[in-house]
Subunit: 409 residues, 2 copies
């Protein structure tokens, strides 16, 4: 075939230089990871011990059960269906199981590819480009990256031992500040370990209704409570202004990429349509196996969680004890009530945290520096470390604290 | 805790009504499916035969092999890693295998959750809100829904027997039209079955460089050629202006949700950052099993494809033969060279296609009406049917055509 060539009479034989592609404004707004997630900060030692991420221990995940599940599903003739298309909403049986556990209508459950996916769907569905989102200070840094999808501005709200300072937020709103959303981790906060109190949950939901914003309750650790008192989720599920983001990542394994949203009824269709246009649906194969385990083995999930909670309780207590023994007087430490994180504060304000991290890295321990989590002024996060203990053995935790002690010199 | 209440002196005891949440402009632009994908159009008969979707046959998918793969990976100690986090770029071994097959640098391969995911990533990364995207006329309707993510306007370009009318597009561009992207299905076009000729591929890529737009080459069926001559992909891979969208959906199963993009080097980082913010990464579990099959069984993928092509060739030929035998003179039919679709044209222009579809539905055959694929004027698609034969047995195809014959009366 021939093309209609634009005539260029003065230089008929010259091909013009290619016109480069320009990424969209959305894409241009996505930053290169700095601080949190920057691989160049890792210890160069091959035997380095990483207390870096909210990672479940392999021994707490259903390795053997998944193999059994596949065998059972295949033997029962379910192989073919597990490799075909399925609905964007997610498996009915899986949604039903989750809905019964959460105490909500199954229609309100939307299956996702894990917690991060739930966050990005919620942000894209409810936050207008350039709007303001109130966030924890300090906050989970990867949520800030999610916000880049909509170029949101942030309003940092201090986090107290019992979670987000809701009264601070109320004052800002009363002063005229307007927000599209508030983001918080209500249970075993990342990174501050605390849990949002029941009173604050109620107050936050009331504010959301009064001012017309959505509460994005990011709750991946909520099943991993091993001490203290649960502060409840009913108030979230009863609100028209809360999206509850959850996942099997910390309980059955990050590698599955399987989570869910509990949406208020009025948002189900709009988030479902968005999800449909992204990647159609979550893996039928993965949903088949997980649904099989949850539905055909009553009590199995709770038994699995029970063992996991014991493991993480033990590791949290061990880490705290080691810090107190090997680094007496160096840190203010609060024993975690659940989740994967310890957020100790340096007692001596003259310690150079950057230099400490450098020495620790040379000694062979990796941790997240508190400054990576800061979203605004008025936090002591720069004086803290985030130590993740979920996937570290007793011996590793002891050795890691020993290395940290050497870093203090 | 107490909240700072705004004072309302005239009615201190009244709670104001909740302020409702407003979905984002993005979310509001997502339409409810009409025509294609509208479940209400399905035949009410329980024994209806669906020739509806581009669905691979279960017998062509690796049901037994996936079970074996899981056993082998588990026995070799790979279970734990398969349930953990992995990188956004995708497994190195999987990308390496694909890259070798495609003949490109592994860095240019980005693992996705299937073809639709690749399309939505590409559109969001490269199409500015409200920009113009040139699309096939007729086109795969679900791509139009993907375009809703960026509120794109469309420029329909006619599709000829050898694919997109590139000369038509060239004239529009020479006349001053400017586009951000062109979307086409180069191999076994959906719905028109044709393949974009090698000459047109070269011309399209040249236009893209000259005018600075991206070619979105959506190529899920390309491995399923059972007749005719391959028109090549090298010209796509050698261009800085093409994103090649591919998937294991039609070859190993839609339920896996596993695909890939071949990106020009300069777009890898930006699309990777976008993907990272959506849902972190594709399932480690699924990647582990598929990589194991592809890497540890040399030749296995091609053997699997060989069987699949034979099966689909047989079904395509059978469907064509049945139409010619049971409905002589009713349709102009072109034998497919690959893929899953037949796109027959009604010979008699006086046939009422809506009434025909209604009678066919009552007889118990479901197909896609040609009008669902129309994106602009100047196509005869309304006089056509899309018949999908991939997952229908010989007996079902014969019976379905018999029912269609009865619908003609």
């Amino acid at each position: 075939m021939t093309l209609t060539e634009p005539t260029t009479p003065d230089s008929p034989t010259t091909t013009p230089p290619p016109v480069p592609l320009v990424p969209s404004v959305l894409a241009q707004g996505l930053t290169v990871p700095k601080g949190f997630g920057d691989q160049s900060l890792l210890s160069p030692r091959p035997d380095a011990i990483r207390l870096l991420g909210g990672i479940p221990d392999p021994s707490a995940l259903p390795l053997a059960e998944l193999r059994e599940a596949l065998g059972e599903v295949w033997d029962a003739g379910g192989a073919a269906a597990s490799l075909q298309y399925s609905g964007s909403h997610g498996f009915e049986g899986l949604r039903g199981w989750i809905a019964e556990r959460e105490g909500v209508d199954p229609r309100r459950i939307l299956i996702t590819n894990g917690g991060m996916h739930g966050l990005s769907l919620t942000v894209q569905a409810l936050v207008e480009r350039g709007a303001v989102v109130a966030i924890d200070n300090p906050a989970y840094p990867l949520f800030l990256r999610t916000l880049e999808l909509v170029g949101a501005r942030t309003l940092p709200v201090p986090v107290e031992p019992d979670g987000l300072d809701v009264e601070h937020l109320a004052r800002r709103l009363a002063d005229g500040e307007r927000i599209a959303a508030v983001y918080t981790v209500p249970d075993f906060h990342n990174p501050t370990q605390g849990t949002l109190s029941a009173a604050k949950r109620a107050a936050l939901v009331e504010l959301a209704a009064r001012y017309g914003f959505v509460v994005i309750a990011d709750d991946p650790y909520r099943e991993l409570r091993f001490a203290g008192t649960d502060q409840g989720r009913r108030v979230f599920f009863d609100s028209e202004h809360v999206v509850h983001v959850n996942t099997f990542t910390k309980t059955l394994g990050p590698g599955l990429r399987l989570g869910w949203l509990v949406l208020p009824e009025h948002l189900v269709d709009v988030v479902l349509r968005l999800r449909n246009r992204q990647d159609s649906h979550s893996s039928t194969f993965v949903q088949t196996l997980v649904q099989h385990l949850l539905v055909t083995r009553p009590g199995w999930f709770d038994t699995t969680l029970g063992r996991a909670r014991e493991l993480y309780r033990h590791r949290a207590q061990l880490l705290v004890a080691e810090l107190r023994t090997q680094l007496p007087g160096r840190f203010e430490v609060t024993e975690p009530e659940g989740g994967f994180f310890l957020w100790p504060r340096l007692v001596d304000d003259s310690v150079d945290t950057a230099a400490l991290h450098k020495r620790a890295s040379a000694e062979g321990i990796d941790y997240q520096q508190g400054e990576f989590f800061i979203t605004g002024p008025g936090t002591d996060s720069a004086r803290r470390l985030r130590l993740a203990y979920g996937d570290r053995t007793d011996a590793e935790l002891r050795t890691a604290v020993g290395r940290l002690a050497r870093a203090f010199g």
